[in-house]
């Protein structure tokens, strides 16, 4: 059974599950051995198994979706730069090239070749968002990529098991908190070791020489499933545009989706030109990932993602735009652009698949503190805060979440232990949820102070989303809310251009930074919301008396 091109349903299920399990085990290894809040608590990483051509076969199911989509590109670039004949066990490749990997410098890809019976058979790889990559702490102030930190072109971190001391020294002298960063990288390397060993054991067990036939089967089935799903859509051209916050002036994302038979073309012509500061530009590989991902959600939600899924999809964008930017423009805050692509695509396809799309999503925002504790220890902690999820025609928005990222929040207690801050409150906001027959998820309000006993001022670096444009409702559902940034009672985000500086300093113990994060939008006419659901929201203080009356028509 193992040599046939066509795996029978039994072998296919068994072996595919094994590949998924290998990726899962890699993921667990990083989770358990990493140390930064951003990786160990917030889970900003992903793990993947790839074949000898660098094509993805399986990823861990909580992997960051965009990492799953961009990792194969790194593997293919490795194959171009390092001939297979030169590879040997103990090699580990690394890069954080935003144009090759995941769109900004903190995302470091660590990829290891896998050998079986002395022969190269594929890769075990992962990408993780390091806690620091050097460069400016204020992501909004940068004018080019050079200010955003150190750039590692594709290189060997280990050569036949020997560490590349130059690479390690570059970390030691260029990033903040290098012990934390290097321990996380060790966790990434360890995950690949585990993955490589499991893949080889698997091949032994099934007496396979390599992953070729299995890869063909997995990708082939997935490609067919995607083609079938596309064929079921009405042919045609679907367009949409959305605006992002930009640097004071909104930036436009324009999309045109062409569905022909069993193929899809997604083109971003008409999107804003790249911008000279603030890190809001997306590299093409990153934009492509954020285009594939929402299409996979809409079309093949049951297929474990691999490269086969995307064979029928072509993504294009003119060079020099915020969707396909040139080196060396700044890219550090590219999520402030790239995360709006999903809503743009869902909106465009609202006519083709109305029952599947999601209303506008409140997006995740984050804050970050860096400095020295009273005893001199360096702190460097991230706090991720989810936005409210948009409703669908099938139900209310799923609560607070990080879509389109698979990250988790950071517990308040863990954030406080890791930085001299005091979270004063973290709560849902009344009447924030975008109304609808199905409502969006309410947004959250976070109030931050510094720990009263901390003697120095506390700098907080902000990465807010949705400052200017609320997520939009669908089919008569109402919009969600925008994000507000309030310092000591005064809103500083009303004027978007005031948010071009990305940090706030809390000097006095009573200083307060209040962040009201965006909520999810609604789906369907709020007046059609079933009475019991409305009454439950009212009882729970999520919908006020007034809104129940005037918005929902009680």
């Amino acid at each position: 059974m193992t040599n046939s091109q066509n795996f029978d349903p039994v072998s296919l299920e068994i072996m595919w599950s094994r590949m998924l399990n290998v990726a899962e085990e890699m993921w667990t290894t990083i989770l358990r051995t990493a140390v930064s809040t951003i990786i160990a608590s917030a889970n900003d990483f992903g793990c993947e198994v790839l074949d000898a051509e660098g094509r993805s076969l399986a990823h861990a199911y909580r992997s960051m979706p965009v990492f799953n989509m961009t990792m194969p590109n790194v593997a293919k670039e490795i194959l171009k730069k390092y001939p297979v004949e030169s590879m040997r066990p103990g090699d580990v490749y690394m890069t954080n090239d935003p144009w090759m990997c995941a769109g900004h410098l903190p995302d470091i890809a660590i990829v290891s070749p896998v050998f079986h019976q002395g022969r190269f058979v594929g890769f075990a790889g992962n990408i993780a968002n390091t806690s620091d990559i050097g460069g400016s702490l204020d992501a909004k102030s940068v004018t080019d990529s050079y200010e955003e930190g150190i750039f590692f072109p594709l290189c060997k971190l280990y050569d036949g098991g020997e560490p590349n001391e130059l690479a390690f020294d570059m970390f030691r002298w260029n990033v903040r908190g290098p012990d934390m960063v290097l321990t996380d990288i060790e966790a990434q390397v360890a995950a690949n070791h585990v993955g490589a060993r499991r893949i080889s054991d698997f091949l032994d067990e099934y007496r396979l020489e390599d992953l070729t036939t299995l890869s063909e089967a997995i990708r082939g089935r997935s490609e067919s499933a995607m083609r079938k799903a596309i064929s079921d859509l009405p042919d045609g051209e679907y367009t949409n545009h959305v605006f992002t916050d930009g640097m004071g002036d909104p930036l436009k994302i324009q999309v045109r989706i062409e569905i022909r038979g069993d193929e899809i073309l997604v083109d971003f012509d008409g999107s804003a030109p790249q911008i000279d500061r603030g890190g809001l530009n997306c590299t093409m590989i990153y934009s492509q990932g954020h285009t594939y991902y929402p299409l996979a959600c809409l079309l093949t939600p049951d297929v474990p993602v691999n490269e086969g899924c995307f064979e029928p999809i072509t993504v294009t964008a003119p060079k020099g735009t915020i969707i396909n930017c040139d080196f060396p423009v700044s890219v550090g805050s590219r999520v402030n652009t790239g995360w709006y692509i999903h809503g743009c695509i869902f909106g465009a396809l609202s006519k083709a698949v109305p029952d599947r799309i999601q209303a506008g999503n409140g997006l995740m925002s984050s804050i970050h503190t860096y400095g020295a504790e009273a005893d001199g220890r360096i702190f460097n902690a991230h706090l991720f805060c989810g936005g409210g999820r948009g409703a669908t025609s099938q139900g209310d928005g799923m609560g607070l979440n990080m879509f389109p990222s698979s990250a988790s929040n950071v517990p308040v207690e863990v954030f406080e232990v890791n930085s001299p801050s005091l979270i004063v409150s973290k709560e849902l906001m009344e009447d924030s949820a975008g109304a609808g027959r199905h409502r969006g998820s309410p947004g959250q309000r976070l109030v931050v102070g510094k720990l009263p006993s901390y003697p120095a001022p506390l700098n907080i670096y902000l990465h807010p989303n949705r400052l200017s444009f609320a997520p939009q409702g669908i089919f008569g559902g109402r919009a969600g809310t925008k994000t507000n940034v309030i310092v000591n009672g005064e809103s500083v985000s009303e004027d978007p251009s005031s948010m071009t500086r990305g940090s706030v300093t809390l000097s006095a113990p009573e200083d307060r930074l209040t962040l009201e994060f965006s909520s999810g939008a609604g789906a369907g006419d709020p007046r059609e919301r079933p009475q019991d659901m409305l009454e439950r929201d009212a009882l729970n203080g999520l919908v006020s008396e007034r809104a129940a009356q005037f918005v929902y028509g009680r």
Binding site: I14, V35, D179
Partner: protein, 699 residues
């Protein structure tokens, strides 16, 4: 006064309530099974207890001990049928319970749902107070505000209250003040404090745990009292012990005080039974394979002890999706769900993969072969088509199976795959066994152990029919099937020692540990545990105390369990503890990291009574034992390594004497389970009537 010699265990599962009765004088063990009555579990319990006692010719008054495990607590959470509970949090944080970790558990399902919180928002109230990360109270709790809030909740009909304040693991002062104040005003209101139930960092998980405790407290309390009363009316005058999730037993009072500890106590009993057999047969390292109607679970036994974990997720929205359930922080036996059960349905997915489960046909309509209207093929149907199960001896013949219906259902599935019914059945069997083996392997390898060095002890209704194939895939060399494999979990209850574990969160770098504080924390935990044992009637003599710590490299999220040496702790102990940490870390991750300091999160202490004396009667093996005396029939059964269907002898398990040997292919039937022995494998009946199967090397 006569010496009481019988112990009775009762395990209430979703479908059946299982009983085992052990006579410590003779070592005899009898078993019994009745249908669970979900509406009135106590009456089925009492009826079954009467029956097994009558059959054994003994009376409730002659019982020394009754030990109980039940899914009642778990079901109350799954079905959201617990109390109208309220939650008090630090001001500004009442929504933590609903926000959870804000992590999507299925990245591609735009319509996924998070689990409903056990306490709705309008019953979550706030207390003005604050403790900082170092345990300093920076805002004293305003008890007058709290009193008003609690009075309002009580006026709304709240039946129990959970309290979870920020950083209470570091300093419980404000929680305790609140408790004292509430108790003075509402002395009968059940109350649970997060600093008592789960004094561990991470506000969501800690709150989720204390809320679960308080949610099930009133109903579990009523239930336990009811069982105690009914048992006493039957004439039983001893104590009722209740199994807890960490594989020990607690007395009824402790169960009522902290019912969250009863979650998953049934599966824990199964793992404990596996530990018991591990010692009995002298096989210290083994894995349990507990496969029932809807799921299969495994637990790794090392050195005779089931492995442990510090958290569990219950009531998942999607069974196999981590993050779709409610996290509970407490010591548990590390059981993982590895696959489907006998009732799980097989289907072909859109990618052309043969899948089994997670949907289950349940008891109604049940598998196609039940003839109750089920049409979709299940694992049980596949086993029937393959000849592994008898159509006439299911549940000892109490139910007959419809082979044609099974064949039709599998034929239809096969047609979709271009196979006949038999190949489809073998496909289903393979997918189930391969996936169980793969999941078990990951679990074992995740502990950096080699699965080939483990024996498997198989039980549950469906376990013995799949164990040998799972063992083959894992490369394990031995499978042990205890007599009464269908009710083995219940036996686990009788093997459990009385034990109490406590934990104290005191985060600190190892080299900055305040050893005096650690010593006094351990002293308090030990005194509490000894008190609990004393009040449960355990004599001081023979009590065992074990200490451990949750440690990690500074900054890591995941902790590892490091044993703490006996004797007084001081700075001098640090080097030994550090060496142990690095040794265990390397065993787990195959790597060392000496660059970061070691951090202790929590200190744990377990006090346990001596293990109960559960000697089974060992019978003399006789060299003349003859398996053929137990031969009851033969039928055709499917074994690909023998070329397909072969005529296969069927043995009556109850007639197999110690020392009997059987060569595969063979089928051994007992009332609640059927053991399948593959061609090339050989089985021997040992002195305790276990079937010990040695795997041959044939494919």
């Amino acid at each position: 006064m006569t010496l009481l010699s019988h112990s009775l265990s009762i395990d209430i599962g979703g479908t059946f309530t299982d009983f085992t009765l052990h006579d410590s004088e003779t070592g005899d063990l009898s078993v019994h099974k009745v249908l669970t009555d979900p509406d009135d579990p106590t009456s089925a319990l009492i009826r079954g207890a009467r029956e097994i006692l009558t059959n054994a010719g003994t009376a409730p008054a002659a019982l020394r001990l009754v030990v109980h495990s039940t899914t009642l607590a778990t079901n109350a959470i799954i079905e959201r049928s617990g109390a109208k509970a309220a939650l008090l949090t630090t001001k500004g944080f009442r929504d933590v319970l609903e926000m959870g970790r804000e992590q999507i558990y299925d990245m591609h399902d735009l319509h996924a749902r998070f689990p409903e919180p056990l306490v709705p928002r309008h019953l979550r109230a706030e207390a003005p107070e604050r403790t900082d990360r170092d345990g300093n109270v920076i805002e004293r709790i305003d008890l007058s505000v709290c009193a008003r809030v609690v009075d309002e909740l009580v006026a709304q009909g709240v039946e129990s209250v959970a309290v979870s304040l920020l950083h209470s693991y570091a300093n419980p002062q404000n929680e305790i003040a609140l408790k004292d104040h509430i108790e003075s005003r509402h002395p009968d209101l059940p109350l649970s404090l997060s600093s008592e139930v789960a004094p561990v960092i991470n506000e969501y998980e800690r709150t989720s745990t204390v809320v679960a405790d308080c949610f099930i407290k009133p109903s579990v309390s009523r239930y336990i009292r009811g069982v105690e009363r009914e048992l006493s009316e039957e004439g039983y005058s001893g104590r009722l012990l209740v199994m807890h999730s960490a594989g020990g037993v607690m007395d009824a009072a402790a169960a009522r005080a902290r019912p969250v500890r009863m979650l998953e106590s049934g599966p824990a009993a199964g793992a404990l039974a596996a530990g018991f057999y591990s010692e009995l047969i002298g096989e210290p390292d083994l894995i349990s394979l507990d496969m029932g109607g809807t799921t299969a679970k495994t637990c790794v036994i090392e050195g005779g002890r089931p492995s442990r974990a510090n958290s569990i997720e219950v009531a998942r929205v999607h069974r196999f999706k981590v993050g779709s359930g409610l996290p509970i922080l407490m010591p548990v036996l590390d059981l993982i769900e590895i696959g489907s059960g006998g009732g799980s349905m097989a289907w072909l997915d859109s990618l052309g993969r043969l899948r089994v489960g997670p949907q289950s046909a349940g008891a109604s309509p049940g598998p196609a072969c039940y003839g109750l209207g089920g049409e979709r093929p299940t694992v049980t149907d596949a086993n029937l088509v393959l000849g592994y199960l008898s159509p006439d001896y299911f549940l000892g013949g109490r139910m007959s199976l419809d082979g044609e219906a099974a064949e039709r259902a599998l034929g239809a599935l096969g047609a979709e795959m271009g196979m006949d019914a038999v190949d489809a059945a073998w496909g289903v069997y393979s997918v189930v066994t391969e996936n169980m083996a793969a999941a078990a392997r990951i679990h074992i390898i995740g502990r950096n152990k080699d699965p080939r060095s483990y024996a498997i002890v198989a039980f549950g209704g469906a376990g013995p029919a799949h164990a040998c194939e799972v063992a083959r895939i894992l490369g394990a060399s031995r499978v042990v099937v205890p007599l009464g494999a269908g009710v083995t979990s219940a036996l686990g209850c009788l093997a459990a020692p009385l034990s109490f574990e406590s934990v104290r969160s005191m985060p600190s770098l190892l080299d900055r540990t305040d050893w005096d504080s650690v010593e006094s924390a351990f002293a308090e935990m030990e005194a509490w545990g000894r008190d609990m044992l004393a009040s449960a009637g355990v004599p001081v003599y023979g009590i065992r105390v074990e200490r451990s710590a949750d440690m990690r490299l500074a900054g890591q999220i995941h902790e590892i369990d490091v044993p703490i040496p006996d004797g007084r702790l001081s700075q001098a102990s640090a080097s030994q503890i550090e060496a142990d940490f690095h040794r265990i870390y390397q065993e787990l991750y195959s790597r060392r990291n000496l660059s970061l300091p070691i951090e202790t999160r929590s200190w744990r202490l377990l006090v346990s009574a001596p293990k109960p004396d559960l000697a089974l009667r060992e019978r003399e093996s006789s060299s003349g034992a003859d398996a053929s005396l137990a031969l009851k029939s033969s039928r055709r059964a499917y074994f690909p390594n023998a070329g397909g269907f072969v005529e296969c002898p069927v043995y009556d398990r109850y007639q197999l004497a110690p020392g009997s040997e059987i060569r595969g292919p063979a089928i051994v039937e007992e009332e609640e389970a059927t053991t399948v022995i593959r061609p090339g494998d050989g089985a021997k009946v040992d002195g305790w009537l276990n079937l010990v199967i040695a795997l041959g090397h044939g494919g």
